[in-house]
């Protein structure tokens, strides 16, 4: 139900349809064009007040665009939730493998665990993958006694390469 007053619209949103996080994200995306207020209403419902920053004429069009954005933010949430563990696994694997190659930290095992099989039938990643990620993260923590600078970025060149040739430089390469 929509009530119209001057340059302002007020409507209710069912949080069973649109998660609160999606409502907040959509509202944030519109802060360049509108003032948006979100307040709790009845159970599983929030009230959204929408006021155009520039022209009162804009408010209807903005409201339509806002509802489209709500759908897209809800979709983004689903994509993110379904793939979070897989993304964490890939990043953790990249971090561990880089440390092995650069040999800047002691105690990192050379053979990182093999990747898990993605379970085509499971909508979310299973417990085995979660254990895998935790093991990788534990390796990183175990390998770093200082904890504050796990990549050794604050260690000056001269200290890091004392007695070594320039060939021992970190693996980072510049673009040709």
């Amino acid at each position: 139900m929509t009530q119209k007053a001057a340059a302002e619209l007020k409507f209710s949103l069912d949080t069973r349809i649109y998660p609160l996080e999606a409502i907040q994200a959509a509202a944030y995306a519109f802060t360049d064009r509108a003032f948006v207020r979100i307040a709790p209403e009845a159970d599983a419902s929030v009230a959204v007040r929408f006021k155009a920053k520039k022209s009162a004429k804009d408010v209807e069009a903005l409201s339509d665009a806002f509802h489209n954005e709500l759908l897209h933010e809800s979709l983004r949430l689903r994509i993110s939730a379904a793939n979070q563990k897989l993304r964490e696994y890939v990043v953790t694997k990249a971090l561990v493998s880089a440390q092995e190659d650069s040999n800047t930290l002691p105690g990192v095992q050379a053979d990182a665990p093999a990747p898990p099989e993605a379970e085509p039938s499971a909508p979310l990643v299973d417990a085995a993958l979660e254990r895998e990620i935790e093991a990788l993260l534990a390796e990183i923590e175990k390998a770093e006694p200082g904890a504050g600078d796990p990549l050794g970025v604050s260690v000056p060149w001269q200290v890091k390469h004392e007695g070594k040739s320039a060939g021992g430089a970190p693996p980072a390469k510049k673009e040709p």
Binding site: A25, F30, S97, A98, W157, K174
Partner: protein, 460 residues
């Protein structure tokens, strides 16, 4: 973005087949991107089929998306981890871009003793490839520039590090002796043109005189021009002129937040919409010129490096976490070390929030270990930014906490009302639009292969 487009129903998403992606409307199509910098522009029907896991598995599109990590049950973990690592190699290398401002308005310049200390601090960075860029009217203190050039080259030779040198200043200040020294050191010159008027004409006259010498020495040079309200009208003619002089490219810049904050800056600054309209016309002019010879727009080239290179962005400002303090450092004439040129300029205005250390005390380790760098790292991590975490351009862009602090009073910034975000998003929209034409893509890839461009790009 088409506001009237019919949105995609979240319930249509297939969590089994569809991998992680970010998306954005591009006209009547959808751009999808992922953490590995891979992208694809899909028609509305293709996008809906992809989201719903209904793509034809025998179609070439499916194979491409699977190869690029978009299909959840076809992920190549080894390959994708390597791709992620390649795009984030800067995490292991420390600051590679070192901007040095050896002079400043109305006060004493950098002493030779400080210049020597600054050169030494630069080489403490663990990065195997270093770029030294002289900024802020450096030619006003040539002795310090000369000392740093010589010392840096000697240290590069002894350490085996790759070194690139650049100097940005008004060409009217560049004498023949300084030009010869820059050429001899292999330093690239970036001609910074005044906004408009008589001083720009004088600078262009001098640039014409030295361009012949630069061409003869086969030394690439670029031109930097600020896009202000007063300079919009003549921008396409300026593009033509710079190309005719033999420049490798032109860098079209918006005013910085600090420049915008002054009364004169408020009058001169374009709105994001004005800037983008002017930028589009200039970029299209640049693309037309490329039918005859390679001539790049440098802001576009920085973004294109992030989009088209497997290794991601060379520009420290297009990374997450951002480059301030982690990928770049800036050194003021008194030896103070700041997280970036913008932080240094802020320091000159009396706000030392991002002053990290001093070249003569503490040096590199103190600078990168400072609490300010930690704060900048957290604030510039896109996963911590509500609008950026889901932005389709997250893999090709970074936030600038210092610029957000200047413009919005908060290092985390508020992207929907952030000028830099609006302009950069508009530029990326334009680039992805142009990339749909294969001819343009060939030109863009040519820019990335140009000789003498192996240095971190200028800050967009």
């Amino acid at each position: 973005m088409s506001e009237s487009a019919v949105a995609v129903e979240p319930s249509s998403f297939d969590p089994v087949r569809t991998g992680f992606f970010r998306f954005r409307r591009l006209g009547d199509r959808y751009l999808i991107t992922n953490d590995f910098g891979r992208y694809r522009v899909l028609t509305d029907a293709e996008f809906r089929a992809y989201v719903g896991g209904a793509l034809d598995r025998s179609a070439p599109l499916y194979g491409t998306l699977a190869k690029d990590g978009f299909i959840r049950d076809q992920l190549d973990f080894e390959g994708l981890a390597a791709a992620w690592r390649a795009r984030h190699r800067f995490l292991w290398s420390g600051p590679s871009l070192h901007s040095i401002a050896p002079s400043g308005p109305g006060r004493a310049g950098m002493s030779l003793e400080t210049a020597a200390a600054v050169a030494d601090r630069v080489f403490e960075s663990p990065s195997p490839a270093l770029s030294i860029e002289f900024v802020g009217r450096p030619l006003a203190n040539w002795p310090a520039v000369r000392l740093i050039l010589d010392r840096a080259r000697a240290k590069a030779a002894s350490s085996g590090k790759e070194l690139t040198l650049g100097l940005a200043d008004d060409p009217s200040r560049l004498g023949d002796a300084e030009l010869a020294a820059l050429l001899s050191a292999g330093a690239e010159f970036r001609a910074v043109l005044p906004a408009a008027g008589a001083s720009r004409a004088k600078s262009l006259r001098r640039l014409k005189a030295i361009a012949a010498k630069l061409r003869k020495a086969a030394a690439g040079f670029t031109v930097e021009a600020v896009v202000s309200r007063g300079a919009r009208a003549g921008l396409e003619a300026l593009v033509d002129e710079c190309a005719a002089l033999g420049a490798r490219g032109i860098l079209l810049k918006d005013l910085s937040p600090l420049e915008r904050a002054s009364p004169a800056g408020r009058k001169a600054a374009c709105s994001p919409e004005e800037f983008l309209a002017t930028y589009r016309a200039a970029l299209e002019r640049v693309l037309r010129l490329n039918s005859r010879r390679a001539f790049a727009e440098e802001t576009a080239r920085a973004f294109l490096g992030a989009i088209l290179n497997e290794g991601g962005a060379d520009s420290a400002s297009l990374r997450s976490p951002g480059g301030e303090g982690l990928g770049e450092l800036a050194y003021d004439r008194d030896g103070a070390i700041y997280s970036s040129v913008e932080a240094l300029e802020l320091g000159r205005c009396g706000d030392d929030s991002f002053r990290l250390a001093d070249s003569s005390a503490g040096g590199y380790r103190a600078a990168v270990s400072s609490p300010s760098v930690r704060a900048l790292a957290v604030a510039s991590c896109l996963d911590n930014q509500p609008a950026c975490a889901s932005c389709a351009y997250a893999a090709y862009h970074g936030v600038s906490p210092v610029q957000s602090y200047v413009e919005q009073g908060d290092i985390l910034g508020r992207m929907p009302t952030n000028t830099r975000c609006a302009i950069h998003k508009g530029i990326l929209d334009l680039l992805f639009e142009k990339l749909q034409d294969e001819k343009n893509e060939m030109i863009f890839r040519g820019w990335l292969r140009q000789k003498g461009t192996g240095r971190p790009y200028p800050r967009p």
